[in-house]
C-alpha cells in the first residue's frame, strides 16, 4: 500500500518544529526583537499561495473574486516581506561591539 503524501508533509512539519525548537533556543536573548521581525518576514512566504491565487484567472479575465483575494494577499505579504527583512537589517546593523582602540 502506498503512503499518503500527507504523511510525508506531516513528517516534515513535525521535524521542522523540532528544528525550530533547538534553533530558537540558541538565539541570543539580545536578538529576540530581530528574531520576531525576521520570523514575520519569512512567514510571509505565504505569498507563494497568494501568487498562485492571483494567477488563477485566465488571460481574458485576470480579475475574478478568487484572484482579487489573491492579489490583495500578495500586497499584504509583500509589505511584510520587504518591511520585515529591511527593518531586521536596520536593527542588526546597529549591534556593534566595543571599539578596541577606544576605552
Amino acid at each position: 500500500m502506498e503512503i499518503d503524501p500527507l504523511i510525508f508533509r506531516l513528517s516534515i512539519f513535525i521535524l521542522s518544529i523540532f528544528v525550530g525548537y533547538y534553533v530558537v533556543w540558541s538565539v541570543t536573548p539580545s536578538l529576540h526583537t530581530p528574531l520576531m521581525s525576521v520570523t514575520n518576514a519569512i512567514s510571509s512566504v505565504i505569498i507563494v499561495g497568494a501568487i498562485i491565487a492571483g494567477l488563477s484567472g485566465n488571460s481574458d479575465a485576470v480579475f475574478n473574486t478568487s484572484s482579487i483575494f489573491g492579489f490583495l494577499a500578495i500586497a499584504l505579504a509583500a509589505i511584510n516581506i520587504f518591511g520585515g527583512f529591511l527593518v531586521t537589517q536596520r536593527m542588526l546593523a546597529m549591534y556593534k561591539k566595543k571599539k578596541k582602540e577606544k576605552k
Binding site: 501568487i51 483575494f69 516581506i81 529591511l86
Partner: protein, 465 residues
C-alpha cells in the same frame, strides 16, 4: 515551466535557508549573514512559484504591480519606524500575515481548481480541513494583532477589559469553531465558511481584550506563534514544503518566546491568556498605601554619587523607551567611562513591550552589545557595584518578589538592585508599576529617588558630571 518535483526541491532549499536565517541570530556577528539567507530563501521561493505556474500572461504584470506596491509600503515603513515603536510594528506585521492567510484560504475555497484541490462544493476533505484551520488561525491572528496594535499605540486603553462570563463565552466560541469546521467539511457549504471566518475574527478580538498592557510581551510572542501555525495550515493546503517548514519554525519560535516571557514574570501561560492581571482592585491598593519616608535628590547628588563610584550598573525599562532617553543615557555613560568608571547594563527578560526591546534601543544608541547583560549573567554583580542607576524600570527591581509570599509578583525573577551600595531611581512619581504594587526599593536607606523625566534627568546629570 519547471516540473513539480524540481520546484518541490527548490522549496525545500528555501525552507533550509530560512532555518539558517534563524540560526544566524545566535550571535550578532552571524546575524547579518542570516538575514541575507532569509532574503535569498524568499527570492528562490517566489521565483520558483512563477516558473512552476509558467503563465506570464497579463496577470503576471498585475502580480508584479501588487508586489511593488506592497513592497514600497513595507520598505517605507521599515525605514521610517522609530526603534521605540518596534512592538507596534511587529504586532501590525503579524496582523498582515494573518489576513494574507485568510485571503489565500478564501481564494482557494472559491477556486479550488487553481490549487488542484478539487471543484467548488467538492473540495478534497483533507484540503478542506487544512484550509479551514489555516483560515481560522489566520483570522484569530489578524483580529488579535489588531487589538494588540491598538493597545500598544495607546489608541485603545492598555488596561484589561473584562466582563462577567468572559471565559465561558470564549470557551463556547472556541468549541463552536471546531463544530463549524466539522459541519463545513461534511456539507461543503460556503455559508459555513464565511461564518467560520466571522467567528474566528470575533474570538481573536475577545481573546486579547482582557490582557493588560504589561503582558504585551507575551501577547506579541503568542501572536507570532499563531501567524506561524496559520502559515503552516495554508502550507498543507498548498502542499508547499517551504510554507510548512517556515510555519513550523515561526510557530515554535513564538511559542518559545512566550514561554521565556511567562517565566520572566513567573506566571503560567494560561494565567496570562485568561487575563485581568494588573487590574487588582484599587481599594486594597489605596488602603495599604501608608506614607513612608523617601529620600529624594537632584541631578547634582546623582552626579556626585556616580563620580565617586568605580562601577555602575544601569537598569533600563520601558520608561526609558517612553521618554526616548536611550541617547541621553549613552552620553551620560560616555562621560562616566572617561572618568574610568566601569559601566554595564542589566536587562530583565520582560523589560519593555516585547522580547529584546531594550537591547534594540541600546544598540540604536550605539551601546556596544558586549556591555549589555541578561539577568542571570549580571545579577551577582550588583553586590559588588557601587551605584545602580534604574531608569524607567520598576517591578523588575522590586525586592518584594523575593521576600513577600503574599505579593502578586512573588517568585518572579528580579534584578538584585538593592544589593548595590547605592541606588539611583529615576522616576516621575512614586506611583506603582504595572503589577499595581508598591516597590520596596523606594524606601530603602541606600536609595535616592530622582523625580523627573528620564531624559531630562539624564541630561542634567551629564552636565553635572
Amino acid at each position: 515551466m519547471i516540473t513539480a518535483n524540481l520546484s518541490a526541491i527548490f522549496y525545500l532549499v528555501s525552507g533550509v535557508l530560512f532555518i539558517l536565517a534563524l540560526r544566524g541570530l545566535s550571535s550578532p556577528e552571524t546575524s547579518r549573514k542570516g538575514n541575507f539567507f532569509g532574503i535569498l530563501g524568499m527570492i528562490i521561493a517566489v521565483t520558483v512559484t512563477f516558473l512552476s505556474i509558467g503563465n506570464f500572461s497579463s496577470g503576471f504584470i498585475y502580480v508584479l504591480i501588487f508586489i511593488l506596491v506592497g513592497g514600497s509600503i513595507g520598505a517605507f515603513i521599515a525605514y521610517k519606524i522609530p526603534m521605540t515603536a518596534m512592538p507596534e510594528l511587529v504586532a501590525g506585521f503579524h496582523s498582515l500575515v494573518g489576513l494574507a492567510a485568510v485571503f489565500v484560504a478564501i481564494s482557494a475555497f472559491l477556486n479550488p481548481e487553481a490549487f488542484n484541490l478539487g471543484n467548488p462544493g467538492n473540495i478534497k476533505l483533507g484540503s478542506l480541513i487544512e484550509m479551514s484551520i489555516g483560515a481560522a488561525v489566520g483570522a484569530i491572528t489578524f483580529s488579535g494583532s489588531v487589538i494588540a496594535f491598538l493597545k500598544l499605540q495607546g489608541i485603545m486603553s492598555g488596561s484589561p477589559i473584562t466582563f462577567k462570563g468572559q471565559h465561558a463565552l470564549n470557551a463556547i466560541i472556541l468549541i463552536s469553531i471546531f463544530v463549524i469546521i466539522y459541519l463545513l467539511c461534511s456539507t461543503q457549504s460556503s455559508n459555513l465558511f464565511w461564518i467560520l471566518l466571522a467567528v474566528s475574527f470575533l474570538i481573536g478580538f475577545l481573546l486579547i481584550i482582557p490582557i493588560g498592557g504589561a503582558d504585551m510581551p507575551v501577547v506579541i510572542s503568542m501572536l507570532n506563534s499563531y501567524s506561524g501555525w496559520a502559515a503552516a495550515g495554508i502550507g498543507f493546503t498548498l502542499e508547499n514544503t517551504a510554507l510548512i517548514i517556515t510555519g513550523a519554525l515561526v510557530g515554535s519560535s513564538g511559542a518559545i518566546l512566550s514561554y521565556i516571557m511567562c517565566k520572566g514574570m513567573n506566571r503560567s501561560f494560561f494565567n496570562v491568556i485568561l487575563g485581568g492581571f494588573g487590574a487588582t482592585d484599587d481599594k486594597t491598593k489605596n488602603a495599604s498605601k501608608e506614607q513612608r519616608p523617601v529620600k529624594s535628590g537632584n541631578a547634582d547628588d546623582a552626579a556626585f554619587l556616580m563620580k565617586n563610584a568605580s562601577s555602575v550598573i544601569i537598569v533600563p525599562g520601558y520608561g526609558m523607551a517612553v521618554a526616548q532617553a536611550q541617547h541621553a543615557l549613552r552620553e551620560m555613560v560616555d562621560t562616566l567611562k572617561k572618568n574610568d568608571i566601569k559601566v554595564s547594563y542589566a536587562i530583565h527578560p520582560v523589560a519593555g513591550r516585547m522580547p529584546g526591546h531594550m537591547n534594540v534601543l541600546l544598540a540604536e544608541a550605539n551601546v556596544p552589545y558586549d556591555e549589555v547583560f541578561e539577568l542571570e549573567e549580571i545579577n551577582n554583580d550588583f553586590a559588588n557595584a557601587d551605584v545602580a542607576f534604574v531608569i524607567g524600570a520598576n517591578d523588575v527591581t522590586n525586592p518584594v518578589a523575593k521576600t513577600d509570599p503574599q505579593s502578586p509578583i512573588y517568585g518572579m525573577p528580579v534584578l538584585d538592585v538593592e544589593k548595590c551600595k547605592s541606588v539611583l531611581f529615576v522616576k516621575r512619581s512614586l506611583s506603582p508599576g504595572y503589577a499595581g504594587i508598591d516597590n520596596d526599593l523606594f524606601y530603602k536607606e541606600n536609595t535616592l529617588m530622582l523625580f523627573a523625566d528620564a531624559k531630562k534627568m539624564t541630561e542634567e546629570i551629564t552636565k553635572n558630571l
